[in-house]
């Protein structure tokens, strides 16, 4: 009985390990070949003087080139600035965001735009908006008593 269990166990753990390796390979492949990235190190900033430091002294949407946009965003309790973002369908949009006070979150519903905004740090990630439509944008980290009114929208035209 012991021997048979040990054989089954080896098979189970072998299949389990194989499965985990396949998952990891799939993750590595999609990350590299499809250019999907996590936010990484994108610079530091003094949260008290965010509104004086470029580009955050001028939050908004600007065109960088054909089909390429940059959103510079400042979050503070309890609003995003800008809180309405309009870009044409097919645009590749780079979000540059930071916070002036506490930790906030930035999540654009139905997309991979999902980042933490941490005082002292600049958050950056890029996403391609292919389909026209409207996305809800919310703060998804608790940031005080008004957390649930902190929202906006991204309109893809």
């Amino acid at each position: 009985m012991t021997m048979r269990i040990e054989r089954y166990e080896k098979a189970f753990l072998g299949v389990g390990a194989g499965m985990l390796v396949i998952f990891l390979l799939a993750l590595g492949f999609t990350s590299i070949s499809m250019g999907i990235n996590l936010p990484g190190r994108a610079g530091e900033i003094d949260p008290a003087s965010v509104r004086a430091i470029p580009p955050f002294n001028n939050p908004g949407v600007r065109e960088l080139g054909p089909g390429r946009y940059e959103v510079v965003m400042v979050a503070s309790a309890w609003a995003f600035q800008p809180n309405e973002i309009r870009v044409p369908a097919g645009s590749e949009v780079t979000f540059m965001a930071t916070t002036t006070d506490v930790i906030h979150g930035l999540h654009v519903d139905g997309t991979l735009v999902n980042m933490m905004l941490i005082p002292g740090q600049v958050s950056r990630n890029t996403y391609r908006f292919d389909e026209p439509g409207e996305h809800l944008m919310v703060c998804h980290e608790f940031c005080g008593v008004g957390h649930h009114i902190m929202s906006g929208k991204v309109v893809v035209e």
């Binding site: 166990e9 753990l13 003094d46 941490i118 919310v138 608790f142």
Partner: protein, 554 residues
């Protein structure tokens, strides 16, 4: 020797010590009760129903959410483990506990509770249990949580002292399995807790007292998650101890392999801590390479859980077949489902399958961006800590409280119904939360009063509310059963010993598994892995960026 304890024939814990262990665990139940009440209000909020006005001390949703997390995830779990793990160690080594240390651990826990209850109930600490700076709580909150950790250190030291004493008298003898896995669990916690110890004592407490004017939000967050992922294994391992070493006996089977069980706990000691960045995948200021490395390690720490799934189910099958069960799956019906302790833990294991799968999805690097900080996450962890752990601890209580009080369990059938209510509830609840999360519903948000909504959230929110209501009923039944057992249970009719299992494949005296007993060595390897996983980040980041004053906007 196939027993998982020394002296399998019997060992009696002195009555005074049983009383102290009992009261330590009761504190956990008080916390659970408070936490559950708030949880009910939060589940209903997702369904669009606001019942906060019925909570007399509450000034807001996030105050209740703080109470829910701190009470359930921190006080309930640690109070239970502080009582349960030293008890198991004592029984396994057949050595009585040290009464002064039981007192010290209990009273530290009481003071911790009083401080935190003061801070949270007066709305001075509505920062949620993650305590992310620069939201700043009152100093009593940070000090209370530090004392909670101190009480767990006393419990851990207690176990190390028992084991040290036993080893001196038993040179060259294998450590009884039940003691080994109990001590290994809290040894891992000692290492894991370093993150919050540094954060709370070095930064947050002096900052809340005004000694430090500013603090570093990213550093504190990173230190929190250095502890914060491993802490979920500290909650989980007492449940695993029960599944490995106690439940097999309760269902009439055996623990499959002593060496493999030890190996699994050594793997948790090694791999639980160097994984924290997978909670910070979407954070700025941390390189993607470090995040990827932690992701890899997280897949690694999934492995001992896979091994656990095999071993535990094999033990159950053995029990089911010993009880006359046949077929590929029909033996499951022969398991003692009428034993409330077994039923609760079988259902806990079942929900944990989904908890584990969703956890692996969270750990999956870029996939995390789909679910991070959405309602999916609480959907996930209510199937891990919120049921795999909570239900198992309830199941353990159905023999442990009778054992500690020497009273017969009151309301056996009600106790069985309890775990079914809770399980059905948590599955419906998690289905709601998970679908809502995939649809962009944020977590930690007062949805009932939010300025935004989506029509498609209605079903997810309703399921969350319905499931949460069933969970609340299940939890309340637990308190009825335990309360009535303590009050009215038949005296002198409690179990006389803990239900420790025997191993099918016992520990060897001279094979590879002997090395597993060198806990000190494994601890050093674990430290080394933490240095490798966190060293590059700290080297590139320190000194602390003290940029943020405190914000009390709750």
């Amino acid at each position: 020797m196939s027993a998982t304890v020394a002296s399998p024939e019997g060992f009696q814990l002195p009555a005074e010590q049983r009383r102290l262990v009992r009261w330590t665990i009761y504190i956990g139940y008080f916390a659970l009760f408070a936490g559950v009440a708030h949880g009910f209000a939060q589940a209903l909020s997702y369904a669009g129903i606001n019942i906060l006005r019925f909570f007399p001390f509450l000034q807001g949703y996030y105050q209740g959410l703080t109470a829910h997390g701190v009470a359930n995830a921190l006080f309930f779990t640690f109070a239970f483990s502080n009582g349960f793990l030293p008890l198991l160690t004592s029984r396994a080594l057949a050595r009585p506990l040290k009464t002064p240390l039981l007192h010290a651990s209990l009273w530290t826990l009481v003071v911790a509770n009083v401080l935190v209850i003061f801070a949270v109930s007066t709305n001075r600490a509505s920062v949620l249990y993650t305590s992310y700076a620069p939201l700043q709580a009152h100093w009593t909150y940070y000090l209370g949580l530090v004392l909670l950790v101190v009480s767990s250190y006393i419990a851990a030291a207690h176990m190390f002292i028992l084991l040290g004493g036993w080893r001196k008298e038993n040179r060259g003898v294998r450590i009884p399995l039940l003691a080994f896995i109990s001590v290994a669990s809290y040894a891992m916690w000692i290492l894991a807790s370093l993150g919050i110890a540094v954060s709370f004592i070095g930064f947050l407490l002096p900052w809340s007292l005004g000694i430090l004017e500013r603090t570093d939000p990213l550093l504190n967050r990173t230190l929190f998650w250095l502890t914060g992922h491993a802490i979920v294994y500290v909650w989980l391992l007492p449940a695993y101890i029960s599944w490995y070493a106690l439940v097999p006996r309760q269902v009439g089977g055996k623990l499959i392999s002593d060496p493999l069980t030890r190996l699994v706990f050594v793997m948790f000691l090694l791999l639980s801590v160097p994984t924290g960045f997978h909670h910070q995948y979407t954070d700025p200021g941390i390189s993607t390479q470090m995040k990827a490395f932690h992701g890899l390690m997280t897949f690694g720490v999934f492995y001992p859980s896979l091994a656990t799934a095999f071993s535990v189910v094999a033990s159950l099958e053995m029990g089911g077949r010993n009880r006359g069960g046949t077929g590929v799956l029909r033996w499951i019906k022969k398991l003692p489902w009428d034993d409330p302790s077994v039923a609760a833990q079988l259902l806990a294991m079942f929900t944990f399958v989904f908890g584990g799968i969703t956890g692996l999805i969270n750990a999956s690097y870029i996939v995390n961006q789909v679910v991070h900080n959405t309602a999916w996450i609480p959907g996930h962890f209510h199937m891990t800590v919120g049921s795999a752990v909570a239900l198992t601890l309830m199941g353990i209580a159905y023999w442990l409280i009778p054992y500690l009080t020497d009273r017969k369990l009151w309301g056996r059938k009600l106790a069985v119904a309890q775990s079914w209510f809770y399980t059905v509830g948590v599955l419906i609840f998690a289905r709601g939360m998970i679908s809502g999360g995939l649809d962009g519903m944020p977590r930690r948000t007062f949805i009932a009063e939010a300025s935004y909504t989506k029509d498609s959230w209605a079903l997810a929110g309703a399921l969350t509310g319905i499931g949460g209501t069933l969970m609340t009923i299940g939890a309340l039944l637990f308190f009825v059963v335990i309360g009535m057992t303590i009050w009215k249970g038949q005296k002198g009719e409690g179990p006389k010993d803990i239900p420790f299992a025997h191993a099918l494949l016992p520990a060897s005296e001279n094979r590879w598994d002997v090395k597993l007993d060198r806990l000190g060595l494994w601890f050093l390897v674990a430290v080394l892995l933490v240095v490798i996983a966190y060293g590059p980040f700290f080297l590139g980041y320190l000194p602390p960026h003290l940029v943020s004053p405190g914000f009390r906007i709750f």
